[in-house]
Amino acid sequence: MTLLTRPLPLAASTLVLLATSVGAHAETRRLTIYTYESFVAEWGPGPAIEKAFEATCDDCDIEFVALDSSAGILNRVQLEGDSSDADVVLGLDTNLMAIAEDTGLLAPSGVDTSGLTLPIEWASDTFVPYDYGYFAFVYDTEKLDTPPASLAELVADPDGPKIILQDPRSSTPGLGFLLWMKYVFGDEAKERWADLQPRILATTKGWSEAYFSMFLNEEAPLVLSYSTSPAYHIEVDGTERYQAAAFEEGHYLQVEVAARLAASDEPELAAEFLAFLVSPQAQASIPLGNVMYPVADLGDALPDAFSRLIEPNETLLFDPAEVRDQRKAWVDEWLEASTR
């Protein structure tokens, strides 16, 4: 017995050491999140949320993968199917919810969304809403004194100042604007798109390209963005130069959502992350990081600039199921009007 046990401690401790080092590798839980560029940019909410979340769990590691556009996230997980590396998709919106749900690739979030502050009722248990905002044209006050006062005015002035848009096939703001046009103009949307053509300087794949690469480089005085965008310039840059134009017809709403993938190999960690995403701690990064309205009540922590933004006189939104059924036809209508 003694003879046998003596060498054991050494062997056992070696084994234990080996096991822990092997175990340590196996225990580092990696969560891969597909999102869009601006979410993970240095100044975006991604880095802060990543750091805060990694502090709450042992041996977990978030890897954000920045795709070149938001609607591209959905297409990518569809293309990758069950072999996708992604555990969580972050950056879809209300308009894509029904389409995304139909793929069968997503799993219920397990997050209680009842306490969130949203401008609409939240019924989905798959998608976790993490911020919202209203689409609006942001203009450069140094280049433009009076912005258009309505969508109708924008469309009716082909020789007016140039605008920068996003592609509805790849970008959620692009799709949002397409729906905004459809909501306001109905069956005449196609003709109004044709009217708008001369004013469009560029249609970019994603929002970042349009806003940063083009608009802030003064390539056009108007860009499709959000009513909240000026808040960033006011709070961070200390300038009132960029303002959102209020449109008489009302503004189309976007609620941005995240969801976990059914094929994820870290389903619990994914659920933990989604719950963390709507916690006040993570939400604090939203107003100036993603420059959108947070879904949690931040009280005094909400920057002052958010009280100085335009308030849409009407909130416009299609039912997600209607978007699912009509998207292809409406996108084709846009394509036809824009390549004429």
Binding site: V65, A66, L67, D68, L74, N75, R76, Q78, L79, E80, G81, D82, S83, S84, D85, R169, S170, L201, A202, T203, T204, K205, E209, A210, S213, M214, K328, D332, L335, E336, S338, T339, R340
Partner: protein, 546 residues
């Protein structure tokens, strides 16, 4: 030597297996997926029919326009043997096949676009006339004529130059007028080449991807290739992608079969076989010297027309890159990563294409020379041309379906781009190498055998010196084609993996023209440098003594 202990069939078997696996497996997957589709409803789908109709119509129009332009210009160039710049011009004509199409599209936009050179000129002249909108059928036809008219011109010019002197002497002695000379001597030569050329150009335009993606793409101007890409990358409509791919596959198969029927016996040369266009004066007695000034001016006008079509976009491509954004584009990390990927993909694809071509041809030679099985050899060589039936986007769709449930396709993007481009380069490599490998092979083989030369020594001292220049030429062309390809990378590219053509397409798509211009110049420079380095380093500086 060790090489001698290896059986002759090892290389050809490796190459055949690789090609059949890479082409056959995705094709079979497509066909099996297609079996499950509701074809009865699909063939009546108005959208699919519209896409098919447009694909065929634009290809037919492009072919007719390109031929209508090339025939008179080739004849004119054949008459006008000596003018400054003729050499440069005919070299340019030969380049159109390796010029990256997305870069050429940029050149065309810079010249013909709404803010392009022509509209600026019209503006400066105080005219309210405007070039029609480039996006749509007009732009697609313009680009296709830009690519194909020079190619046809060059092939026809070579053919016309080959008309024996004796025939011209006879024509001179009989004092035949210009029109009779044309119909009796020149037209029969042209007519002989027309079916082959028309079928080649039709196929090129039918499967054209980058041009249609950049200049068309709307529901009114979509070809099957672009519709397949959009079904996959925008709508994730796999059944639609499969259906479109099958239609594309059937048409390409039909084209290849009829092309083989028409094109039999004439080698279109593809304008690749080096510079063998003649530039010396016609001899004194030659009837071309006695043309009336009316005819001469006609010819010059035709040549000027072709120059006006071909040269400005290429000049625009080279000069507009030098703008305020050049430095920021060249130092941008995205650009540099794309540059690295482009070079890697080009070199790897070219090496693979070359290895496959040499392995296949060694088998063809063995079958021809040792086993006297010429027909089996030809079949072997035809396998290498399989990609001609399966355009890259169709092949990519098949690969995609095959792999997507097993691996993350986007993580393998670079590998897939290399494989698809290697297969695309293979027909060119085979075409350039088959002559040097097979011509005189029987005599060389007999000689080498009679003195008992070992295989390695034979390769080193007999085959390599003969093959070195064709090998360089083939790999340079395969590498340049791969560096400029947009098809495979458009399907498999992502934020992790971009190449210069994809980056150029993105920047063009978002109308960032200065950045696009700089990217286009970088792409052209990359292609040119890759081409020249391979030709110099692999080909050596001296001509082989044969």
């Amino acid at each position: 030597m060790r090489l001698d202990s290896l059986p002759w069939w090892l290389g050809p078997t490796f190459a055949t297996t690789t090609v059949i696996a890479l082409v056959g497996a995705p094709a079979l997957r497509l066909i099996s997926e297609a079996g499950a589709l509701p074809w009865l409803t699909l063939v009546q789908d108005p959208w699919l029919l519209r896409v098919l109709r447009f694909s065929l119509a634009q290809a037919a129009l492009s072919t007719v326009l390109a031929l209508a332009m090339a025939i008179p210009v080739a004849t004119a160039l054949h008459h006008e043997r000596c003018f400054p710049g003729r050499h440069v011009l005919t070299t340019l004509f030969g380049l159109s096949l390796v010029l990256p199409s997305i870069a050429a599209v940029f050149g065309l936009i810079a010249v013909w676009g709404s803010a392009g050179w022509i509209n600026q000129l019209l503006d400066a002249a105080g005219l309210s006339l405007r070039v029609p909108v480039l996006y749509g059928l007009f732009g697609i036809l313009l680009a296709h004529v830009f690519f194909n008219a020079p190619l046809i011109t060059r092939v026809l010019l070579q053919a016309l130059d080959d008309i024996p002197h004796t025939e011209w002497r006879l024509a001179a002695q009989l004092g035949l007028p210009a029109s009779t000379r044309f119909w009796q001597l020149e037209w029969p030569v042209i007519a002989r080449h027309l079916p082959g050329l028309a079928s080649l150009v039709f196929t090129l335009c039918f499967t054209s991807f980058a041009v249609v993606l950049a200049l068309g793409g709307g529901p009114r101007a979509t070809t099957l290739e672009v519709a397949i890409y959009q079904a996959l990358r925008f709508d994730f409509d796999l059944p639609l992608a499969v259906a479109l791919a099958m239609v594309q596959l059937s048409v390409c198969l039909a084209l290849t079969l009829t092309g083989g029927l028409f094109g039999k016996g004439n080698d279109t040369g593809l304008g690749l076989a080096g510079d063998d266009v003649q530039h010396n004066h016609w001899p004194q007695w030659h009837p071309h010297n006695g043309r009336t000034s009316h005819h001469r001016w006609m010819d010059r006008l035709l040549i000027a027309g072709m120059i006006a079509l071909v040269v400005p976009p290429i000049v625009a491509l080279m000069v507009s890159g030098f703008n305020a954004r050049l430095l920021s584009v060249l130092t941008d990390s995205t650009t540099l990563a794309a540059l690295a990927n482009t070079v890697i993909a080009a070199l790897a694809a070219a090496s693979l294409a070359l290895i496959l071509a040499l392995c296949l041809l060694s088998g063809v030679r063995h079958l021809h020379v040792r086993l006297r099985l010429a027909r089996t050899g030809n079949v072997l060589q035809m396998i290498g041309n399989a990609i001609l039936i399966l355009p890259p986007v169709v092949l990519g769709t098949g690969l995609f379906l095959l792999l997507r449930n097993h691996v993350n396709v986007f993580a393998l993007a670079l590998l897939l781009v290399i494989l698809v481009n290697a297969l695309m380069g293979l027909p060119f490599a085979l075409r350039l190498l088959s002559g040097p490998v097979l011509d005189g092979a029987v005599a060389r083989d007999r000689l080498a055998n009679s003195i008992g030369m070992p295989r390695w020594t034979r390769w080193r001292h007999v085959d390599l010196p003969l093959l070195r220049r064709p090998i360089a030429q083939a790999s340079a062309i395969a590498a340049t084609l791969a560096a400029g390809d947009l098809g495979a990378i458009a399907l498999f590219g992502s934020e992790r993996m971009q190449t210069l053509p994809l980056l150029l397409h993105t920047r063009l798509g978002s109308h960032r023209l200065d950045e696009a211009a700089a990217t286009a110049s970088l792409l052209i420079a990359t292609c040119l440098i890759i081409y020249l380095i391979i030709v110099r380093v692999v080909g050596g500086s001296t001509r082989p003594t044969s």
